[in-house]
């Protein structure tokens, strides 16, 4: 397929890979010249083309500026498939189903924290389980409990005292993805997920304390409850082993289903089934269960963050203003209605390393934010910055209401380790005023800031392209990593 590839620049923020070979639609990648140059050395554009070959794809095979080489779908990929004629693919969601980010605000001023950041990070590290086999000893879940988690999501946690009802309104889909059926989930997934609810996990997952360094849109920032100099907390984790097992179980099923339905697969990791088939329906029900587990996971961690701050500041979390700003999924498939060619069409939108970015007036948004658009939270690497953006009408028109999800890797993990060799990463970060605790040995080396694209250049592209709008910049003060 590659020989015939023709890439043209549409405008300064987008390129198009024209449909060729077995592609059903074009590929459109949101990148400026500088980010485009970084793409030449990996296989991610080929992955954009591969996704375009899948049946029933609508519009184009999209990728966001944080695009990088994943397995199957590229990371940063967005693809919508017609519910009538299209497919759903577990590889288009990934193993970490509903990996996502939640942002908490506070009424605390960062300047009042100073050296206490160490105390905060150390206490977060002991209150929130991260690392192998670590879990809170104060609760144990049965399979029946986990079935409830799969059905009820964040509400399950709130009903048991982990947070409050208002939190639920500020989570994508209210913290419950509809249609979860616990019977479509294997015993193995329940066994694997039993001890992992309320844990961060390793890789790039973290809980980070930061502060608002810059505000780009005063009106929207204030609607989101954000102000300059304010202390914030970001929680980045997903559905842990529960989701990994569900993905693995269904990839096996989908390999058979692809054969059964005669679907051409340029890469076996793209295996899939028609949305309306028994296999497709079962996967979506199981996936919703894992997504709900992830919402409950972030909800429990939120509760322990609040407890930690209460212990340190000796005040209630209400007094400290520790409220959820929003919680977004960035590995998910969802049935949504979008306008395509002047008609409302029901599609299954896959966002793999991409974030929903619904614009103003969307009825799925909480009332508080409906006038402005959905908060979009973009975590960066641990040394630079994270951003809060706002969804736009243009995203609804161009990208099925989607935008980027993070910085995107630039170096492989091995390259990062090689480049960090002999360096004292923890100390380097401390010199920049960032105090980090990590549970696993390689994490700090693999996650060095240089291993990532600069998230500022990623958000600049989505802002300039108009598929989301910059609201605020958050810089880190301290972080716990799994």
């Amino acid at each position: 397929m590659e020989e015939k590839r023709e890439i043209k620049r549409i405008d300064e923020n987008r390129i198009i890979i024209e449909k060729h070979g077995k592609m059903n639609v074009d590929g459109i990648v949101y990148v400026d010249e500088e980010l485009f140059r970084a793409l030449s050395k990996d296989e991610s554009l080929k992955q954009v083309e591969n996704v375009a070959c899948l049946p029933g794809i609508v519009g184009a095979s999209y990728a966001m500026p944080d695009i990088h080489w994943g397995y199957g779908f590229p990371i940063g990929g967005v693809a919508a498939f017609s519910v009538e004629e299209g497919i759903v693919s577990p590889g288009g969601v990934g193993y970490d189903i509903n990996c996502g980010v939640r942002l908490l605000r506070s009424d605390i001023e960062a300047k009042d924290v100073g050296e206490r950041i160490r105390e905060i990070v150390d206490m977060l590290f002991s209150n929130i389980p991260s690392g192998v086999g670590s879990h809170r000893k104060d609760f144990k879940l049965s399979k029946e409990d986990l079935k409830k988690v799969a059905r009820e999501g964040a509400k399950w946690a709130v009903d048991r005292g982990y947070g409050k009802k208002e939190d639920l309104q500020r989570i994508e889909d209210g913290g419950i993805i509809a249609g979860a059926d616990p019977e479509t989930i294997s015993d193995k997934a329940y066994e694997r997920g039993r001890d992992q609810l309320g844990t961060v996990g390793s890789g790039n997952h973290f809980v980070e304390v930061g502060y608002v360094k810059e505000i780009y849109d005063e009106r929207i920032a204030s609607a989101y409850g954000l102000f300059l100099g304010q202390l914030t907390i970001l929680i980045h984790t997903g559905s842990r082993g529960f989701g990994y097992q569900i993905c693995d179980d269904y990839i096996k099923e989908m390999l058979k289903a692809s054969e059964k339905y005669g679907i051409y697969l340029p890469d076996r990791q793209l295996c899939c089934a028609p949305v309306k088939s028994e296999e497709g329906r079962r996967y979506l029900s199981a996936m919703a269960g894992a997504a709900n587990y992830a919402f409950a996971n972030r909800q429990m961690i939120t509760h322990w963050v609040r407890e930690t701050f209460e212990q340190i500041f000796g005040q209630s979390s209400e007094k400290l203003g520790l409220e959820v700003v929003y919680d977004v999924c960035h590995n998910i498939a969802k049935i949504e209605t979008h306008r395509v060619g002047g008609k409302d069409v029901k599609v299954c939108v896959h966002r793999k390393g991409a974030t929903r970015a619904f614009g103003p007036k969307e009825k799925l948004l909480p009332e508080k934010y409906r006038e402005f658009g959905q908060p979009v939270i973009i975590p960066g690497d641990m040394g630079r910055a994270s951003f809060v953006l706002c969804g736009t009408q243009k995203a609804m028109e161009e990208t099925f209401g989607s935008t980027c999800h993070g910085a995107g890797r630039l170096m492989s993990r091995n390259e990062a380790i090689r480049s960090a060799k002999g360096r004292q990463i923890k100390k380097e970060l401390e010199e920049k005023g960032i105090y980090v605790r990590a549970a696993t040995k390689d994490t700090l080396l693999e996650e060095i800031p240089d291993a990532y694209k600069d998230v500022s250049s990623v958000v600049k592209v989505v802002h300039n392209a108009g598929i989301s709008k910059l609201v605020a910049k958050i810089v880190p003060l301290g972080c716990i990593k799994g």
Binding site: G72, Y95, V132, K188, Y244, Q245, K252, D267, R409
Partner: protein
Amino acid sequence: MERFTFFDHEADIGVEVYGKSIEELFKNAALALFSIMIEEKEKRPEGIERKEIEIEKDGEVLISFLNELLFLWETEGFFVTDLSMRIDEERLRATLFGKRFDPSSHVLKKEVKAATYHNFELKKKEDLFIARLVFDI
């Protein structure tokens, strides 16, 4: 002969595994997987446990096998240091030898989420079996 070599993949980890027989290939793939995750501060012979597993021969059996090992790792903290196995028409039966993770003698480097099917290859070149795998980190 090298048991395995790693190749670069941006977000994840790629590994090429070698074996003179299918059994040796599976064993080396298991050792590659756990070498990504665990470092033993000093290799001690004590504490070895034995475990029997059985997997239906359904789809890519090497990937199913590695994901089964990840399941054992996550649910029991068990990691493989040696194994013997046989495959027939219907299933794979393996006797695993390994240890339970103990922070006083083992270091966790990172966790692997799954063995993926992305660009998966298993071929025989002269007398050598070679598999190319990508692990999701």
